[in-house]
Amino acid sequence: MEATVANVLLTFLAVTAVGIIMLRDLLAAVILLGAYSLIAAGAFVVMDAVDVAFTEAAVGSGISTILFLGALSFTRHDQKPRPNHSWMALFLAVAAGGLLIYGTLDMPYYGSATSAAQTNPGLAVRFLEESGSEVGPPNIVTSVLASYRGYDTLGETMVVFAAGIAVLSILGLKRRRPGENAPLDAPGDKTTTLVVNSSADDGSIASPNEMKRYPRQRHRVLQVVTKLVIPFVLMFGLYVQFHGDYGPGGGFQAGVIFASGFILYGLIFGLQKTRAIMPPSALRILMCLGLLLYCGTGLLTMVLGGNLLDYNVLAHDALHGQHWGIFTVELGVGITVTGVMISLFYNFASKRSL
């Protein structure tokens, strides 16, 4: 049954992929890519990878689609038609694919319980059997992610951080100068007359450009609904953050969800208002703080006499230590991810709203 569902989903994926190749309208392709991620997330659930499914849904079809749309709104929507097909590319892809298929021929079959990966006493078996007593959290993925392979996660957090500051440096978020008030964004190369958006009675200031781009700003219904929804989104984010030990979730997913609350607000109420709530400099500090929290935990474990990220030394009892370690580390990840994701949104959005 499971296998059938997975295979059906897989076929869906193939259809979507063909669509992505064929479509010349980039907007549609992006939406399809989001759908692709969502279907994949569904398949991941079927294949018991709930954490991955959660992340893929939040990131692949959420954040990354928003980023694509942000970029697209700034550039062209359609790719230019090309008469000739790239036989070279086709050849390369087919060759690589052929090689991969050749490699799968003696791989363990789908769902095999006796494959090398499933039976390795050092990794999979150990995690399944020992993590409860060694680390504690029922969610084994969290144990492995934050403790056994916490160092990988440290690197991963830095990747997120790197992306954040890379986009910041490439798109060059205009900084709010001290003493400068409401018109937060000093116009750069383009000069725009700022007008008070009369239809938004909350007095939000938006450029005509922005109004054109975000017509929803005028939708009172959306505004009300959003205001109602956002607390729940943020609450859910906190839940995912702190409940990651027990169910699917963790710092990364929580960060994304938390950020999506702000992004939603930004989409509906405009960038300026969002920035007033969450100024870019605060984001910068958040980004750094999360990472520093992670590093700090690592340093602390070393100061206390353990190896890097050896949480056992954090408390008298090893399990307690692990608990504290995972808690802080996940919190660090969550904070950094929140900061980076909102910052990414700001950068893409501010680029065009000026």
């Binding site: 994926l13 942000g70 970029a71 790719q79 892809a93 499933q118 084994i140 992610l145 992306a163």
Partner: protein, 122 residues
């Protein structure tokens, strides 16, 4: 037959991966390339997750007092990391695309090349 059933999912995933790769190499539009990259990477995630699946298994979250069959958590952990890496790369690439469009007025690779060829050396 058993082989086909057992490996079917791998093969489709491989095809999907190569679709992504093909888009990355063959398409001139830079945004489309990144869409291809997304497709490629998502398919790799799929490959990993497929490896971790155990038939009749359940999500690797310990349940008190029971001993069910769990799917392998290791690929899940790896892919969590890889997803993050993927979105980070895409974000940077998209930022670059925006800037390239600002500078060149186009995001088609061959047009950019033509513009660059006309520029003086360094």
């Amino acid at each position: 037959m058993e082989k086909i059933a057992g490996l079917y999912s791998y093969w489709i995933v491989v095809v999907l991966m190569m679709a992504g790769l093909y888009i990355m190499i063959a398409r001139y539009n830079l945004t489309k390339k990144i869409i291809g990259l997304g497709l490629f990477q998502t398919s790799i995630f799929y490959l990993y997750i497929t490896m971790g699946k155990v038939a009749g298994g359940t999500a690797p979250i310990l349940i008190d007092g029971e001993q069910p069959v769990y799917s392998n958590p290791v690929p899940h952990v790896l892919i969590l990391t890889a997803i993050v890496v993927g979105v980070a790369t895409s974000a940077v690439a998209l930022a670059l695309i925006v800037r390239i469009y600002e500078e060149y007025g186009t995001v088609e690779e061959d047009e950019i090349k033509a513009i660059e060829a006309a520029e003086p050396e360094a």
